[in-house]
Symmetry: C2
Subunit: 364 residues, 2 copies
């Protein structure tokens, strides 16, 4: 099980700071989410390379908390994270979600400026869409009656860009900009947007760019080729904070004292409706598809509103699923036993199920 670092409330003098690992490298959006959830001075931050590394590091006890992206408001669920939750029973038995973080996400296109001959557009004037358009589609035509309207225009000519690095989620949030201004360029998936900026910066040809945060421009010295290139201005990503919950049942939220709550203060109990959320996964018996509705009916009967539902391949047999349901309520702060009763009923109709965490609702 690895070495666990004691960080509960009683251990506040000279104790080692809690370690928070996150999907790095530094300046990634997950790094920013970690800074939003923890006070910088209270914790030690540890970047790791992949979402899977966050699960493994936290499970092994090398970190007390792990921060991972779970869904984006434009592009939807992060399936890599869901697939790791599906493996919790087998590989990450001690992990659960203890907090969520919402982060506004504005993407930039970072790279080197075009060579002087190609840079016919002075950066002091605003280029028009048509002057930059290579293969875009802004005017309705018979074959494209509904042309795309990206929110942002490039700041310089992008004719020199042959290759763009980013995380698949970031590409999914900037489809309109890409379909309009970068149709001929290769998009290369890498593990994070900050890693993408590093790769673009290290290409001496100047033909590479990255979809990344503004912070990554400072870190790498790359120029801004576009700003706010996301499809929607209300683009936000939600993150989960994981921890090893072995002590949770005994200590309540003692271990969570490092985490900020929505009011900016330390976490506090709150039994009001919608104040907390929980996550469970479940499978239903093969050849009994009706059981899916039976499981969901448990939540309705118990008066616990569902706030999201996702399905992923169960990997037991083709086209069987593992379902992920988020609902209002907290398993560990449940004075009337409503969550307890509902989960008991779920256990009676699901083939298998697992509680994956309860936390304070940060979006009320």
């Amino acid at each position: 099980m690895g070495t666990s670092i004691a960080v509960d409330g009683s251990d506040d003098t000279g104790a080692k700071k809690p370690v928070v690992c996150f999907l790095g490298p530094m300046s990634s959006y997950t790094h920013q989410a970690a800074l939003q959830s923890f006070s910088k001075d209270d914790v030690e931050l540890m970047p790791v390379s992949t979402i899977k590394d966050v699960f493994e590091t936290t499970q092994a006890g090398a970190a007390d908390y792990g921060v991972v992206p779970i869904e984006n408001s434009t592009h939807g669920s992060v399936v890599f994270t869901l697939d790791l939750f599906a493996e919790c029973e087998k590989l990450y038995p001690d992990l659960s979600v203890c907090a969520e973080v919402y982060l506004k996400v504005h993407h930039c296109l970072l790279g080197y400026l075009p060579p002087p001959a190609a840079a016919s557009l002075p950066t002091t004037t605003t280029p028009t869409a048509s002057s930059l358009l290579v293969s875009g589609q802004c005017t309705p035509t018979p074959s494209h009656p509904q042309p795309i309207h990206p929110r942002a225009q490039p700041l310089v000519s992008l004719a020199h860009i042959k290759r763009i690095y980013s995380h698949p989620q970031a590409f999914g949030q900037c489809r309109k900009f890409f379909e309009t201004y970068l149709r001929g360029a290769d998009t290369v998936d890498v593990s994070s947007t900050s890693r993408a900026a590093e790769l673009a910066a290290s290409d001496p040809s100047g033909e590479s760019a990255a979809v990344s945060s503004a912070l990554a421009a400072t870190e790498t010295g790359l120029e801004f080729l576009g700003r706010n290139i996301e499809d929607r201005d209300d683009n936000e990503t939600r993150f989960f904070v994981l921890w090893r919950d072995e002590g949770a049942l005994v200590k309540g939220r003692g271990q969570q004292q490092s985490i900020k709550s929505s009011s900016g203060a330390k976490s506090q109990d709150n039994h009001a409706s919608g104040a907390t959320k929980s996550l469970v996964s479940f499978t239903v018996p093969h050849r009994a598809p009706g059981a899916l509705a039976d499981v969901l009916e448990c939540f309705r009967k118990g008066g616990l509103d569902l706030t999201s539902i996702n399905s992923r391949p169960s990997l037991i047999a083709p086209f069987q699923y593992i379902f992920f349901v988020e609902f209002e309520g907290h398993k560990l702060e449940d004075p009337q036993g409503r969550v307890k009763d509902v989960l008991e009923n779920v256990g009676n109709v699901a083939e298998s199920w697992r509680w994956l965490g309860s936390w304070e609702n940060m979006r009320r």
Copy 2:
């Protein structure tokens, strides 16, 4: 609305063949799915570049049918396709699903052979995993107690491969092979696996490879660097056949006479339980998350089993969703009115909803 080609059953003498468009180019998996669903001699096949092009071409009437991937048994839903269904109300008002196709999918790694100096492994002997491993992980270590076990090994050394082209779905189905044998290489997303093979073939450096079908090797002349590299041997993709349903209510299944049924014969009516499936999308009122369970309860009450459920961002406001539900039953072959009653009830509790098609269940 474009020109619609008459292809209903009555028009069988000298009429123009129905046109079937699909996510191309030729030799793509979607091409193979189209061939599985239609007799080659009965239709004219038309490859297009993107899934969106399939929707647009079919809506515009330039094709009578469109074939698109909807989900894979290993990697899950094809979110690009779901997002296009979410836009049906606005952009593709006449489209609905009229058939499904299941296709076994075996991926190959295609490319040029390593240069003679590097090709130290004779291809006549079976290489061991360790002899090919660059940065893989097959032996348990403290930091990786659960090493990955890919099903297939490379057929030759992959040290010369710097870049692999494929569709994001295909990468998602071959994660273990990539994490074990190709950790240092760039993965480049392109619109289809057959386009990936074309790009790898056109790279004179020989450093590019593609995850593609065996058929694409024949088309491009590339060599097999690996066979059956998918994570699971039961890897399958399900496809939807779209059509313009304007005449469906009047003509029943007349227009579908080109489509093969599960028995290999032409489509036939079948009212047995589980013989047909339907797809609907719906949204629930903002600030009334309980409505999700209320909508699902309509199906349970009506005795129509849910076979899958998916959610995607509604793009109305952050973290509101559009839900996609598949259930057993057929809207147009519904002698007892069960589907009709359930959909009426759905209309009473959902904020908005849309029927997206009914078809014969090909996996009973």
